[in-house]
């Protein structure tokens, strides 16, 4: 009963939507009926077209996440742990952070044209800052008492890092990961909408040319689904890595 409760509203909305379409209140030019959307979904996936687009988009997202997230993590660890690196780099990065990534699109098109590297750049940029900032902050806010204790127990260098600093920063880093996963899809949608020859964004924009609203809705729902999936995975990681944390004890 409790598990079913969150689904009541979405299902009711869906039923209302279907009713509105069937009754002609909602013209399919504006919004196709759920049944049409389902039909489009089945046709597209049967032809394999859908899966090609999903695969291309997912690969782009993951590649961008790996590049931007890896850089953010690395630089965050560096500026968080090494004083001179913080002094040297943090101010610059904080300034760059204030530029909305999407404002760079005209420049990105000039730099990279409209091929894959432009999309990779945009996704990486969107992913970079949430992970960088949260990693930096996580390292800075590791409990001083634990560090002190570690030193009196003879830990220093890499053992101190592995046993105390990294696990101490991990909750914050994972917050950064969840934020960046959200940005990852936003940047990808924008990048694919501007210009692409494949991917979910391409599929959706292509459908617009032919007024295939059902395909457009399939694309939009796919983004929602993939976003939810990414968030679900991140949550799973949190539950596993932070199972020591009182806030996550319930899922033990």
């Amino acid at each position: 009963m409790r598990q079913a409760l969150p689904w009541v509203v979405p299902i009711a909305l869906l039923l209302f939507w279907q009713w509105a379409s069937s009754a002609g209140v909602l013209p399919s030019r504006i919004l196709p009926s759920p049944r049409d959307v389902l039909h489009a979904f089945v046709t597209l996936s049967a032809s394999g077209e859908l899966w090609t687009h999903v695969r291309v988009s997912t690969l782009r997202a993951l590649l961008g996440f790996a590049v931007g997230g890896g850089l953010g993590l690395g630089l965050g660890l560096l500026t968080g742990s090494v004083r001179w690196a913080e002094t040297l780099l943090d101010t610059t990065l904080q300034m760059v952070r204030n530029i909305p990534a999407l404002a760079l699109i005209p420049l990105v098109i000039v730099w990279f044209g409209i091929d894959e590297s432009a999309k990779l750049f945009l996704v990486s940029l969107g992913v970079f800052f949430p992970i960088y900032i949260n990693t930096f902050h996580g390292i800075q806010s590791v409990d001083r008492g634990l560090l002190e204790m570690g030193r009196t127990y003879g830990l220093s260098g890499w053992p101190l890092y592995r046993e105390i600093i990294l696990p101490g920063a991990l909750p914050s880093i994972l917050v950064g990961v969840r934020f960046s996963l959200g940005f990852m899809w936003v940047m990808l949608i924008v990048a694919e909408t501007i210009s692409a020859r494949s991917g979910i964004g391409y599929m959706t924009m292509n459908a617009r040319e032919f007024m295939q609203t059902d395909v457009m809705v399939v694309g939009i729902l796919l983004y929602a689904l993939l976003g939810k999936l990414a968030d679900f995975l991140a949550k799973g990681l949190e539950c596993y890595w932070l199972r020591w944390h009182p806030a996550y004890q319930a899922v033990r």
């Binding site: 634990l146 204790m149 127990y153 830990l155 220093s156 046993e163 696990p167 991990l170 020591w244 004890q249």
Partner: protein, 262 residues
């Protein structure tokens, strides 16, 4: 592992032997941004001795203890542990802090084994059994009570078989009953192992219960150095205990009132 030294000896003559090291604090001065905390402080601690430092808050007693493990760096003077100058991470000096400082992301056994080779797990289990937590080895620190966490912290210090154990108000945040239990536990373990113990506490009764010598620090110097001639285990109810407690407390309060410290 260790021979239990004879309990029949006079209180101050016990534990001279097995594991402990002497600590020699000479002419130590320390100031934080101009405010003097320790001023030409001298303190000699014999090997195996249990010394308690009391004093009102801010008198520098914790700073002194932290200087012994190089968590603070005095501007002048020397601190020699055994025959070596003090430094952090020295294998035979361990600290127990007021908060347990367990790593929340490690279960109890790995916490106790921090910095140790995994082959020493049986030893860690044995020490955990000694502090009465044999069944909790696989639990997370967050599931333990404050007293249990301090027991784990004690076990973590003991598994290294320290020659010098520093206790920085380790029982300060525990309830009265748990505190008495922990005092008994610490005394038992100290008597069986014979390490040197340096306890910082604001509780004069606790100092008298545990220590061979009670040191009062005031104005950055040793203001009182009192040998406790009471047979162990000590009972708080006894008249001599109460008289001693009153005398030391009187000195603590008298120093607070004296105008020269303002």
């Amino acid at each position: 592992m260790h021979t239990i030294s004879s309990l029949a000896q006079a209180p101050t003559e016990r534990n001279r032997s097995t594991r402990g090291v002497a600590v020699s604090i000479k002419d130590v001065s320390l100031a934080y941004s101009g405010r003097t905390v320790l001023e030409h402080l001298d303190l000699e601690i014999e090997a195996g001795e249990f010394v308690a430092i009391v004093g009102r808050s801010g008198c520098g007693k914790s700073t002194l203890l932290r200087s012994v493990v190089s968590l603070e760096t005095p501007q002048a003077g020397s601190i020699i542990i055994g025959t070596h100058a003090s430094r952090t991470g020295q294998p035979d000096v361990r600290v127990m802090f007021q908060d347990s400082r367990l790593l929340p992301w490690k279960r109890i056994l790995p916490n106790v084994m921090l910095g140790l080779d995994s082959s020493l797990a049986p030893q860690a289990r044995r020490v955990l059994a000694q502090v009465g937590l044999a069944e909790r080895v696989g639990d997370w620190p967050a599931t333990l009570s404050g007293g249990q966490r301090q027991r784990v912290a004690l076990a973590r210090a003991l598994v290294h078989d320290p020659a010098l154990l520093l206790l920085d108000e380790p029982l300060g945040s525990l309830d009265a009953l748990t505190r008495i239990e922990m005092q008994e536990l610490i005394e038992d373990i100290w008597r069986s192992r014979g390490f040197t113990a340096l306890l910082v506490t604001h509780d004069v009764a606790e100092a008298i219960t545990l220590a061979d010598r009670v040191i009062l620090i005031d104005g950055g110097r040793v203001a009182l150095d009192e040998i406790v001639h009471l047979p162990r285990p000590r009972t708080r109810g006894s008249a001599r205990f109460a008289a001693l407690e009153e005398r030391i407390l009187g000195r603590v309060l008298q120093h607070r009132a004296s105008p020269e410290n303002q």
